[in-house]
Amino acid sequence: MPDPILKLNGLDAFYGDFQALYGVELSVHEGEVLAIIGANGAGKTTMLRSISGLITNDAAQISYRGQQIGNARPDVVAQMGLAMVPEGRQLFPSLSVEENLMIGGRVNRKGPWNLRRVYDLFPILEERRAQASTSLSGGQQQMVAIGRALMSNPDLIMFDEISLGLAPVIIRDIYKALPGIVGGGMSAVIVEQDITKALAVSSRVYCLQEGRVSLEGRSDTVSRDEIARAYFGVE
């Protein structure tokens, strides 16, 4: 197996004074879709914020394509090809739909994604391009958030709580769109509460429990019992 593009080397991360992650080891390979599951407060969001540079760590604890990025600034990490679709969408309310997408394209990396392709993927956004992003439904906002991340043509895209707060129909649509997104060799990390969905879309899965990796395995072979133990910590 080739070297992973992203590697966490014993990541200890802090959320304020509170330690949220303890020695997390994790790797993502080229073109792989990784699922991360775990209860609320297990440290999933802290992990993504650490990778994207919003939380500063020791440089060596995170490496991306051989470079140590544990203490890199978020804008530098973004330039290197990591993008995030944050929890709760977090669109820019004073920007229109199209402006939200355009600001995603600021990073200006080469690749297939541009406004046209995002609109092809989510046609409804083209109809609403001039509207304020706050006027959209939750699902449409999630489309903007995904499109905004894609506009930077990332090598690795991270989804934080991809289906949180969305209606089941919408969640199905988003998942239907996923293969079209990550099909082109892009790697993805998906944080998801819905274990069935997470396993279905990913090739490997990590479970976090109280800041530690409690399970790591292939999505098609892990058993429900193993997951329940890793998730809730019951013996």
């Binding site: 804008d75 330039q79 820019f92």
Partner: protein, 287 residues
């Protein structure tokens, strides 16, 4: 007739106040920073203009070519070297650091230029006037107002129509997510301060042509700018122009009644609006 004249002169004066206010409004909008040294920076720009006109023998308006980029540069460096380190949830550090800055600028100007009032010589422009019916309008106040409108229109365009403006708004909305989009917030804030002080440069030169100034007048300019911002409503640039005009009119009308009441009338207008419309006339963002 006196009253109509006061109204017109006050409106034109309001243009200058809007220029004092625009930079203040801009940096508050982008980074929620209130710069106590803003007035002193206006006065600094006036002194830079004075030195430029004397050294190069040029007209004060030509000096803008030197002073605008100089102030923008000062703004960028100031933001990156000092002010970026004060930003956060606590309002004390930016307030106290800019207060310290205000004292430093004031005393540096005292040291360099003494406390004697100075004025820039704009030649015939100062006395030129045009007749409008029974009114006589000074060309300089008219020009000041036109420049204020142009500057605000320019800022508005920059804010809502350019990639830089998009970066300003995105960073203002959500600093974390803006950084995930590859925006370096320190640089974005530096650019915002550069733009704000470029506007300040224009305000300083026009102030220095209109009236005499000395190192101590910065505080008063800050207050006028602040009042215009609050009257107009936070985050609304055109509102800031309206705020400046209301302040200018209140002052000139007050002065017509009793010369000693000029400034007082402006402050009272501000307090009345604060009492009845605490968020200003056209608020865009909440403080």
């Amino acid at each position: 007739m006196d009253f109509v004249n006061a109204l017109v002169q006050g409106t034109l004066l309001g243009g200058l106040y809007a220029l004092f206010a625009a930079g203040l409004s801009l940096i508050f909008g982008v980074m929620r920073l209130v710069n106590i040294a803003h007035g002193d920076l206006i006065v600094l720009a006036a002194y830079l203009g004075l030195t430029t006109t004397v050294a190069l023998g040029v007209h004060p308006l030509v000096a803008l070519i030197v002073v605008v980029p100089a102030m923008a540069g000062i703004g960028y460096v100031l933001q990156r070297a000092v002010l970026n380190h004060t930003l956060g949830d606590d309002i004390l550090p930016p307030l106290l650091v800019t207060f310290g800055l205000s004292v430093i600028i004031q005393n540096a100007l005292l040291e360099g230029y003494s406390a004697d009032p100075q004025k820039m010589d704009a030649g015939a422009l100062e006395t030129a006037s045009v007749a409008l019916g029974p009114l006589s309008l000074g060309v300089l106040p008219l020009l000041t107002f036109a420049i204020a409108v142009a500057v605000i229109a320019g800022l508005q365009w920059c804010f809502y129509r350019t990639p830089l403006g998009r970066a300003f708004r995105a960073t203002s909305d959500n600093q974390d997510i803006a950084q995930l989009m590859g925006l370096n917030k320190r640089h974005v804030f530096g650019l915002a301060m550069a733009l704000a002080l470029a506007v300040t440069a224009v305000a300083g030169i026009l102030l220095g042509i209109r009236t005499s100034f000395d190192p101590s007048v910065g505080g008063g300019r800050l207050i006028f700018g602040f009042e215009a911002v609050i009257i107009g409503g936070l985050g609304n640039l055109w509102g800031t122009l309206v705020g400046g005009v209301i302040l200018g009119v209140a002052q000139t009308v007050g002065a017509t009644i009793n010369p000693g009441w000029q400034l007082l009338a402006g402050h009272i207008a501000f307090l009345v609006i604060l009492a009845v419309r605490p968020n200003g006339l056209f608020p865009r963002i909440s403080a």
